[in-house]
């Protein structure tokens, strides 16, 4: 085997791109052992060894660039939570992707996404003027200085036909709870959380600046989001660029409305339900209770827990840009969740993230388990009972 020659100038560039804790890694491999790719077969499982990826980065060596390696990471944070050295592994992954993005060597499927974000402000190639098409026949107030909350709907729920129902359900539930909220409209742009994880830092910053200018201009002080991904970036990444607001996931707002008696739930029996914690709601934001409070208070609901729950939840595989990439059937994390949900005895698998809905529903169909299990967004179950 020919000896490989470390190239520390490359390592320096990776660190400069944001992998600041790259050298903190002592190569114990706990990250690799914790990674959900160990739970599935397939090329990504075989190629993506996050411990090795970081070591290659430390030595400035090639070999981690493929879609099945560096770009396999879903940024689910399972590894970061167990790292004994406090390595910011996601930042290291993003730093390495960023370095590749700068020279244009990101997976081809992601280039289309970036193009759509540039031109339309959303990743789904939806025309900007159709951003509010999800509203259909529902009445949604427009945000004004008198409105308490600005409701930001995730691009996925703006343009994806299935996901639009989430946006409508959130709006319906908020209305039922008497919350003062409004949308801004077609001028809104994608929050940019996921494209930043993919490595396109410039595009993220453009999107963030456009949003910040828009929201601040409208006098936004508090934001309700429909997706945990938007929640994460608004809360944690926007302040650096001048976007400082109070940001809430809709489940937080609805859960407190419920406890204050402002939201009343009635109607059909919810039956046996279980909850899949989205990575960005759970591990990234540590919100485990509000969705469960809502589920417990659905009429006739019995909440069962999945075998791997809360901070041990297994990623749906939609984060970190994977939602825009293909994973072969039989190799998908979401399939594990469907099996686990069926095993839990629940009839409905509930989650609270548009990416998770996409991934879980897809696997439900692939596995042909529609007769045993339904996949629902939390807001849908709530809205149906307001």
């Amino acid at each position: 085997m020919e000896a490989r020659i470390p190239f520390l100038e490359v390592s320096d560039a990776i660190i400069y791109s944001g992998a600041e804790t790259l050298y903190w890694c002592m190569q114990c491999g706990l990250c690799t052992g914790t990674c959900p790719y160990r739970l599935v077969p397939g090329p990504a499982s075989e190629e993506f060894n996050i411990r090795l990826v970081q070591h290659l980065g430390q030595l400035g060596l090639e070999g981690f660039e493929s879609e099945n390696c560096l770009f396999a990471c879903t940024t689910c944070r399972a590894c970061v939570d167990v790292c004994p050295r406090g390595v910011e592994i996601i930042n290291n992954v993003v730093g390495m992707r960023r370095m590749l993005a700068e020279v244009g060597t990101i997976p081809p499927s992601l280039k289309t996404i970036a193009g759509s974000l540039h031109s339309q402000g959303n990743p789904w190639s939806g025309p900007r003027d159709q951003r509010t098409a999800w509203i259909k026949d529902v009445e949604i107030p427009t945000f004004s200085e008198q409105t308490e909350y600005f409701l930001f709907v995730c691009c996925t729920s703006c343009f994806d036909a299935r996901s639009q129902n989430i946006a409508r359900s959130v709006a319906k539930a908020l209305t039922a709870a008497g919350i003062s909220f409004g949308i801004i409209g077609n001028e809104e742009s994608c929050c940019g959380e996921t494209i930043r994880k993919v490595g396109d830092e410039q595009l993220f910053q453009n999107l963030a600046q456009a949003n910040i200018q828009l929201y601040n201009g409208k006098g936004v002080k508090k934001i309700i989001v429909t997706s945990p991904h938007c929640l994460y970036t608004f809360k944690n990444e926007y302040p650096e660029f001048g976007g400082e607001w109070e940001v809430f996931h809709y489940s937080e707002i609805l859960a407190s409305a419920l406890s204050e008696g402002k939201l009343k739930l009635s109607g059909s029996n919810a039956g046996a339900v279980t909850f899949h914690d989205p990575c960005y709601l759970g591990r990234h934001t540590k919100l485990y209770d509000p969705p469960r409070e809502l589920l417990r208070n659905l009429p006739g609901a019995e909440l069962m827990e999945l075998a791997r729950t809360k901070n041990k939840s297994v990623c749906c595989q939609g984060g970190g840009g994977r939602v825009w990439m293909e994973t072969a059937a039989g190799e998908r994390f979401a399939e594990l969740r469907i099996h686990e949900a069926v095993a839990s005895g629940a009839k409905t698998l509930v989650t609270a993230c548009p990416y998770c809905i996409t991934m879980l529903e897809d696997s439900l169909k692939v596995l042909g388990k529609q007769d045993e299990l339904a996949v629902k967004e939390l807001s849908e179950l709530v809205a149906e009972r307001t």
């Binding site: 000896a3 020659i5 190569q27 030595l59």
Partner: protein, 713 residues
């Protein structure tokens, strides 16, 4: 002394319920006619203890035999002036009442035999006359490095005169040539200045410390309290009481590491050279004086390697981490690679390791013994290694390669002390050439009484630990001179005032004692007659066990004493389910183990009579012959573990006993007896749970063999 024996039998702690004390009292009265014999429910209580004390104070009694609990407990209650009163503790609690069924005949017979043996032991004990000579309490410290200076300063601060001998013209040892030290204080991030000069100044300023530099030791004769130290080059002869050897270490010879091209490629250097270069102010490549921009460290260079040093030197990882900081400090753009097997950063040094990692040093895990170093193409050197974390070979080019070589003791090929001992001029070594006595229990101890090691001469260590080692060894040296002045033994029988007395008229000059003493107590005259040096003695009595003429004894321990105890055992003529076994056991581990059996109320067969010994090495073969010819069916010996990880307080006592037992085959054959009648077990205190099973198995084996044919003769 005219012995007036008092026998005090306690009925408390369940003893009275278990043992027929009237019968036990009758044994004392009828067989020994003691001056006093009292049964009381609590001799450890105020009233009971008062009874004994008033008998002693009134002069009615001068030999106290207490049949009660283990002699290891209530030592504050049963305490008498050892110079005027003999005390014998007979353990009928842990060794009888708590491990045998109450009220049985066999239980009674066991207690009776223990009482007989105890009274006999007391009868055979003489009041001691301590060995006291004019002694000198000066402490000799050999080596003026981190450990030696600390030892000298601390001994002086405690009021002792100190002789400090340093072979170099200047003191300070390796530390004086060091640039910085790795972090010793929270948050363990910053390198620290070397502070050895403070210790040197302190030593120079202390008038109790006499310093000899450029001096070595020509010879040391004598014994603790009276060592005569002769320095070379006319440094004269000086009398000292105890010695701290802090001669330090030397780096492993890197020229033996051909694979690393040391000596052929000038830019391959050792960590010692690196340190001295940093101290001089600038790190450069020896080949052309240029400043290196890429530096590679090779860890375990010759360490943890069966062909070189098999052990870990414990400090090299931290040294390289520290030196990698030097490289980055010289130019922040510099790159550092550390090739390692495992990074070992004990104590709080993990924090420093993290800091070095965070600062960008590149770590490559590899079997460093397989690294090949050659001439580079773009830089001066090339390093080829298999990156085990990648599973592929890597090729790194560097301007300078630093071999992190291990430590070897300075005494490796120079005895330094040049002792005038029959067993040789050097301190005996334990492993890898380090002179240590016991690496678990007794740091600083060597196998030469009154001589203690400190710092890297005894074990690789950081300078900070070498300093505290110096303190520890100085304290041991002080203990040695103080106890020696009183005629008392040092550790582990600290305070024992007995010492070996030899009836030399019968000596056959067989030299077993002079060879087998673990502490080199005996010198020899030209004919081979032993010349005892009692202050070197640790009182293990291994010499007593070795002597075929049985001419060595102590005032309170002798061949006759134990032999008489064995003969005092009542052996039933009829074997019928009543075998008799003598258990000769080490008092340091096995006896407490047997106490544990009692404390845990584990039960075992009533056939064994245990006799505690100072060391299994003190077993004289005549005891075995005595026992077997008396009709004892079997002999159990419990001693400490031996071998590389020995646990014997006296280094090789149990091993010697084992050797002697294998030789006893001949005796057994002569007596027409089976060798299975003797069994030696290695035992630590925490092996106590095995004791009942060992007894059970041994009894079963004896039953197969049948009764000792000498029974009844």
């Amino acid at each position: 002394m005219d012995q007036k024996i008092g026998v005090y039998i306690c009925s408390g702690c369940g003893i009275g319920e278990s043992i027929d004390l009237d019968a036990l009292s009758a044994v004392a009265d009828e067989e020994f006619q003691p001056a006093k014999r009292v049964v009381h429910p609590a001799f450890c209580g105020e009233e009971g203890a008062g009874l004994i004390r008033s008998d002693v104070d009134a002069g009615d009694i001068n030999t106290v035999v207490v049949a009660a609990c283990s002699g290891r407990v209530k030592t504050d209650v049963f305490v008498f002036d050892p110079m005027t009163t003999i005390l014998e503790r007979v353990n009928i609690r842990e060794h009888v009442a708590w491990c045998q069924p109450a009220g049985e005949d066999d239980t009674r017979m066991l207690a009776e035999d223990y009482l007989r043996m105890g009274i006999i032991r007391a009868q055979k004990t003489k009041l001691p006359a301590p060995y006291q000579e004019e002694i000198d309490k000066t402490i000799l410290v050999v080596g003026g490095g981190a450990a030696g200076l600390q030892a000298a300063n601390d001994a002086a601060a405690a009021g002792y005169s100190v002789l400090l001998v340093e072979k170099e013209p200047e003191m300070g040892g390796h530390m004086a040539k060091w640039n910085k030290s790795s972090p010793t204080k929270p948050p363990y991030q910053e390198l620290e200045e070397i502070t050895i000069n403070e210790l040197i100044d302190q030593a120079k300023a202390d008038e109790r410390i006499t310093i000899f530099t450029s001096a070595t030791i020509e010879k040391i004769a004598g014994a603790p309290g009276m060592f005569d130290v002769t320095l070379n080059n006319g440094g004269g002869t000086h009398r000292v009481g105890a010695i701290v050897l802090a001669a330090g270490w030397k780096p492993y010879d890197a020229t033996k590491l051909e694979r690393f091209s040391y000596g052929t490629l000038p830019d391959v250097i050792t960590s010692v050279q690196m340190e001295e270069m940093a101290k001089a102010g600038k790190i450069t490549c020896p080949s052309d004086g240029s400043e290196p921009s890429v530096v590679a460290f090779i860890q375990c260079a010759g360490s943890r390697d069966a062909d070189h040093l098999p052990y870990c030197s414990a400090v090299c990882c931290r040294a390289s981490l520290k030196q990698s900081v030097y490289v980055k400090e010289q130019n922040p753009e510099n790159k550092v690679f550390i090739f390692y097997k495992d990074i070992r950063t004990p104590e709080q040094s993990e924090e420093f390791y993290k800091k070095v990692q965070k600062d960008g040093t590149v770590f490559i895990k590899t079997d460093t013994a397989q690294i090949a170093i050659g001439q580079g193409s773009e830089r001066k050197l090339s390093i080829e290694a298999v990156d085990q974390l990648m599973g592929e070979p890597v090729l790194v080019e560097a301007d300078l390669v630093v071999l992190a070589v291990g430590m070897q003791p300075a005494v490796l090929d120079d005895p330094i002390l040049n002792l005038q001992y029959r067993q040789g001029p050097a301190l005996p070594e334990l492993k890898y050439g380090f002179p240590d006595s016991h690496f678990i229990c007794f740091p600083y101890e060597t196998r030469r009484t009154g001589i203690y090691t400190a710092g890297c001469v005894r074990q690789p260590m950081m300078s900070s630990r070498a300093g505290s080692d110096g303190t520890g060894a100085a304290l041991k040296a002080i203990q040695a001179v103080e106890l020696t002045a009183k005629g008392k033994a040092v550790h582990p029988r600290a305070g024992d005032v007995s010492y070996p007395e030899l009836f030399l008229q019968r000596c056959t000059q067989c030299k077993r004692c002079t060879e087998e003493c673990p502490f080199g107590m005996y010198n020899e005259d030209e004919k081979g007659t032993p010349l005892p040096h009692p202050t070197r003695c640790r009182r293990c009595a291994i010499c007593m066990g070795s002597c075929p003429e049985r001419i060595i004894s102590f005032s309170n321990y002798s061949v006759d004493m134990i032999g008489s105890m064995i003969k005092g055992i009542n052996v039933p003529d009829e074997y019928e389910e009543k075998p008799r076994i003598v258990g000769l056991i080490c008092e340091n581990d096995s006896y407490p183990g047997l106490d544990m059996v009692g404390l845990r109320k584990l039960q075992y067969a009533p056939w064994v009579r245990f006799i505690p010994l100072r060391c299994l090495g003190s077993v004289n073969l005549v005891w075995i012959a005595d026992a077997l010819s008396k009709g004892i069916d079997g002999i159990l010996l419990f001693g400490c573990r031996y071998g590389d990880d020995y646990q014997c307080h006296f280094v090789h006592g149990s091993e010697l006993a084992n050797t002697r037992m294998t030789k006893i085959q001949e005796t057994l054959d002569r007596l027409m007896l089976e060798s299975d009648r003797i069994r030696l077990e290695q035992m630590a205190i925490d092996d106590y749970e095995k004791i009942p099973k060992i007894i059970e198995e041994f009894t079963a084996r004896l039953q197969e063999l049948g009764p000792n044919p000498y029974k009844g003769f």
